[in-house]
Subunit: 342 residues, 2 copies
DNA sequence: TGCTGTTATGGAAACGATACCATATCCGGT
DNA sequence: ACCGGATATGGTATCGTTTCCATAACAGCA
């Protein structure tokens, strides 16, 4: 039932076919040391004929180096994850590292299992794209004997390098823009606070800007829900049904903004004529949805790429101390927010 | 400069600390053979204290089994790729396989390099999510000494198992629906034909349905372009500027449909009142975009999952012959297509 | 002729696990 | 008292590489 999958061509076979020794073949393979041109040619001929491919398994064991980077993604099928993975994978493959992917489907327990697996596989570094950083996470990461870089969460205070967006400043900037358009009563379509970056930081930025402008925040206008369209719809309903309606809504993600606009349309409220809606993230459909959504643009691809570079530096022993890199943002003014009489 | 990353705890260290032999420790680790409860406890204590984690490197070498599956993705940051990766990764991780990810950014040469890397890493199987299957690909796959499953392309005639959508039938079904709504002049917003599934098969299905209904296809209404919004806009312009406008447009992807509707809006044409537009793929925003897009729904998550199951079966030696699995589709009737006077 | 340094080659010990084999002890049954 | 199976343990070859070391041939040079 069980067949031997790989052909039984080992460096030893190549050596005997080429009438030489394993040492010499190894030198040819690694292009090191002295090998007479004639012998080299003979060996290369045998390799070409047999289709010999050296085993990383043996090589990595001997070298104590796997060239593997473990990457943990809570949910791979999302726009932001996809972009980040694309970015980090482009850097890592360029640096001759392979990506060992663990998609945990938002299950924290499975993230810890993945870390265990990574240790067994002797990865040379770990990239953790996290939504939540529990105490267990912190501990598991501290126990990792290789560099770890956290993306989209701040773990710098735990001594772990992090690459993240300046969510608070971005949300504040967007809120300031809404204020500058004359909006004073602004709803917030937020998410649960266990997502630090999106749930807490973006909300804080929103509150920062309001305070700064001397506008009092109305708790009745601040909703916490999930990331899906239903949550957006429910949130809109709650905002509209709580009493005096706002003139604008800040949704903490573009998906929520889209969901909100759809729900508003169902209730006969046209955006932006009767209500303004802003999103965050600038997913590609934000520029194409009707109305085109005013939002904050992040460069997730670059975020992933930067995190990977940071990790590569750490793996190559260049840096010791934990670093914290804050990525920029950009306000994208489009059509879903309109100026109202102040 | 270079430090030893992993702690020097080997099975041998555990053995001597627990005053026993490597064999016994190995038996405890693998839960096999006889070990006295007392000794087992002692060993487990040492493992807990030292934080010993066995090296897969050594284990895999000895067992000649990496438990790795190589996954090649042309472009990870796209909706369909994300879904498929999520699906296949859920199956693989459940079956205790790890995913070695190679994102090739649509570069065929780098796909071949990835296959080489996979051979070195001694992966136990390969999943290839391909847009293009060149002769070089076919050859490289034939040389792989482990099972290969191709997703979203038909490689069954090359003796390689494939899992794919029935693109042709799906496009035909959607076209038939447009015909049943009374449309007779229908534009096709297609893509380049080197993408067999999307470029060729969907177009063929479109033509099948027209022929079936005795409607002659107008080459001036059939556009080939890229997958991006600009392509959609250019395509719409060409269709509108070529003479007599159609009453409906079939876009071969939802992104193109969205792009088309936006461009039509810019030119003052309202969908569906003045023109109907259908898409394919049912990306999540298709249900939320205004108007909600009539489209074909595929289950990409399941596609990835099925491919992974197929691969697992093959890796475990259950099946020998190449299989071909055709996934279903579902017509999603929404608001972007309206019935016209026949 | 004898040195020294460069070029060239092969033998063998690691790397850290598994698994086969030999051996030892215990215990109940005759 | 002896046997045999079940229980328990340890020694060691092996997986396929790399790398260190020993050795050798040969050149140039005093």
């Amino acid at each position: 039932m069980e067949t031997i999958p790989y052909p039984v061509t080992r460096i030893r076979d190549v050596a005997s076919l080429a009438k030489t020794s394993v040492s010499t073949v190894s030198r040819v393979l690694n292009n090191s040391g002295y090998v007479k041109a004639e012998v080299r040619a003979r060996i290369e001929a045998v390799i070409a004929e047999t289709g010999y491919v050296p085993s990383s398994l043996a090589k990595d064991l001997q070298r104590q180096q796997s060239s593997l980077v473990g990457v943990i993604i809570p949910k791979i099928n999302s726009y932001t994850s996809g972009e980040m993975v694309a970015g980090l994978s482009s850097v890592l493959s360029e640096q001759r590292y392979s990506v060992l992917l663990a998609s945990t489907d938002n299950h924290p327990q499975s993230e810890l299992e993945s870390l265990k697996l990574f240790r067994e596989k002797r990865v040379n570094g770990v990239l953790l794209l996290g939504t939540e950083l529990s105490e267990a996470h912190r501990l598991a990461m501290a126990q990792m004997p290789v560099p770890v870089v956290v993306i989209a969460q701040d773990a710098a205070r735990h001594g772990i390098s992090s690459v993240l967006q300046d969510e608070r400043a971005a949300a504040a900037a967007l809120t300031r823009y809404l204020l500058s358009c004359g909006h004073r009563r602004i709803g917030l379509l937020g998410v649960h606070e266990f997502d630090i970056q999106v749930g807490v930081e973006r909300k804080q930025g929103f509150l920062d800007a309001l305070r700064e402008a001397g506008v009092e925040a109305d708790p009745g206008l601040m909703i916490q829900g999930g990331f899906d369209f239903q949550s957006a719809a429910r949130g809109v309903d709650r905002i509209l049904d709580q009493g005096r309606a706002p003139s604008a809504i800040l949704a903490v993600t573009d998906r929520l903004a889209v969901g909100a606009i759809s729900r508003l349309a169902e209730r006969g409220i046209v955006v932006p004529a009767q209500m303004s809606v802003a999103g965050m993230g600038d997913i590609d459909l934000a520029a194409v949805f009707q109305p085109r959504i005013t939002t904050i643009r992040y460069d997730y691809f670059q975020t992933g790429a930067r995190a990977a570079s940071l990790l590569v530096d750490a793996m190559q022993g260049a840096v010791a101390a934990a670093q914290k890199i804050i990525m920029g943002y950009q306000l994208q003014i489009r059509d879903s927010v309109r100026t109202v009489g102040g």
